[in-house]
Amino acid sequence: MAFKKPSVLPGFNLSLGYTIFYLGLIVLVPLSALIFKTAGLSWADFWQTVSNPRVVASYRLTFGASLIAAGINMLFGLLVAWVLVRYSFPGKRLIDAMVDLPFALPTAVAGIALATLYAPNGWIGQWLEPLGLKVAFTPLGVVLALTFISLPFVVRTVQPVLEDMEIELEEAASSLGATRWQIFAKVIFPTVWPALLTGFTLAFARAIGEFGSVVFIAGNMPMVSEITPLLIIAKLEQFDYLGATAIALVMLVASFVLLLVINLLQWWTAKRLGRR
């Protein structure tokens, strides 16, 4: 097969050429700088940097908190998507539009708002304080901020699947004697499951790289509430470029793996739904 199928439309060389040039200039060359820079480190140095206890503690927090946040959003995202698709109530359109707020609201704004709300004297923090629940400046605050910024992903991946679902399937199940719960567990859930998992992974991928919303509420104590992206910045501020680069490479590899998983999941979702 030739590189390209013949077409009567003009502009292929120009548009593809420009696409590749711009992609290379903005994304590929700068990213390869990261890989070349790490190549300047010996394997032992690299390993020592990325397996330092303080760094490992930051991975544990970043990945652990992201996992919990994505899990919370998987549960509540499915619920919100369900309510938005199936039920009608006043203000539904407004709530639907609100779901995208974390995409539109700058992360620094979310960060200072959450830090102020959950501080011991804040609107919400003052009610949690007597219960012995500290949110601001603890790992719990990290989970909270990550839940906020990854909230839309599950809703927005599950919602279209629920909308496209054929009501006849549920009617058939019902006429065959299934209870409402059985229909949910055996008909609805298997249909939305691939989308739910895709949304979970997208939320997780977004959460591990997040910086702006977390730094304000986390308190950033080494070994306790310091996330990995912050550690990269800390190394940069000490002019430890190699250290920052080594940790950044670990993050980059994690993003690549997640990107691969997301692509596989989307392919699987499309196959399950019988789309092209």
Partner: protein, 290 residues
């Protein structure tokens, strides 16, 4: 989206109390996680009254932050718009090898942490970077200066327009363009008169989202900016500085501009979705009438 399927109540419906319970939980979740933080930004900004609020906004450092944010978005968004249209044209209108790899690469900036995005430009253009010495010798500043901020912003908003347009143009196919060309239109005429009207809502949607991200980006910009007051501070960075100085009214006043921007973004987004849906509906009715 309108749900116009006919449903027989009772068979595929939950009991009323289940409905109320689920709706209630969903609303409490949205209220607690989205509504209260949003409201609190405006409340904190106005806590000490309008006078202090307005004073915080017209202070010179705040104004220069607003200016830099606008300049950055004005450069980054049109560049990524041009790229998005070119990429979508190549990918959606032609069949060639390696297409799916190209799509994955275009999506790449979304999965890279903003901090890493900032770092890669420091490695290239920083004082100890690949081009650092050459830039230093020629007295060109990129890192800790405006060009670095613009570059980092371009990176984080890179895929927005392209990823809206690619699926849209793929779904539309190229029959209409082929017809226009057969009837004697030039390539550019075909693009302006046939393709562009078909993709205008998707284009606008991508631009709105890219703009919101460009104006609000924090992590990537924070790495390359150097935080020089009145010089290399965007609004989000200015918010951080004020907050860390315990100037909460000032921080939330500047944050409230960004929160307003977010609300405008959401409103515009809903409006575009509504317009696009209406156009689709009209096209479907026209197709059925034929």
């Amino acid at each position: 989206m309108a749900n116009n399927k006919i449903r027989r109540p009772g068979i595929t419906d939950e009991a009323p109390w289940v409905k109320w319970l689920l709706t209630g939980i969903a609303l409490v979740f949205i209220g607690l996680f989205l509504l209260i933080p949003l409201v609190s930004v405006f409340f904190e900004a106005l806590r000490k009254g309008w006078e202090l609020y307005l004073a915080a906004l017209v202070e010179p450092d705040a104004l220069s932050a607003v200016k830099l944010t606008l300049v950055t978005a004005l450069i980054a968004v049109p560049l990524n718009l041009t790229f998005g249209v070119a990429a979508a044209w190549a990918i959606a209108k032609f069949e060639f090898k390696g297409k799916s790899v190209l799509i994955t690469l275009i999506d790449l900036p979304f999965s890279v942490s903003p901090v890493v995005a900032g770092l890669i430009y420091v490695l290239l253009f920083g004082a100890h970077g690949w081009f650092g010495e050459w830039l230093g010798a020629h007295d060109i500043k990129i890192i800790f200066a405006v060009p670095g901020i613009v570059l980092a912003t371009i990176f984080v908003t890179f895929p927005f327009v392209a990823r809206e347009l690619i699926p849209l143009m793929e779904a539309q196919g190229s029959d209409e363009e082929q017809a226009a060309l057969v009837l004697g239109a030039s390539g550019l005429q075909t693009f302006w008169r046939v393709t562009l009207p078909n993709i205008k809502w998707g284009l606008l949607y991508g631009v709105i989202l890219a703009n919101a991200r460009a104006m609000g980006e924090f992590g990537a910009v924070s790495v390359v900016s150097g935080h020089i007051r009145g010089m290399t501070n965007t609004i989000p960075l200015h918010v951080e500085i004020l907050y860390n100085e315990y100037n909460f009214v000032g921080a939330f006043a500047c944050a409230s501009i960004l929160a307003l921007l977010a609300l405008v973004t959401l409103a515009l987004k809903s409006w575009v979705e509504w317009k696009a849906e209406r156009d689709d509906e009209a096209a479907r009715i026209a197709a059925n009438a034929e």
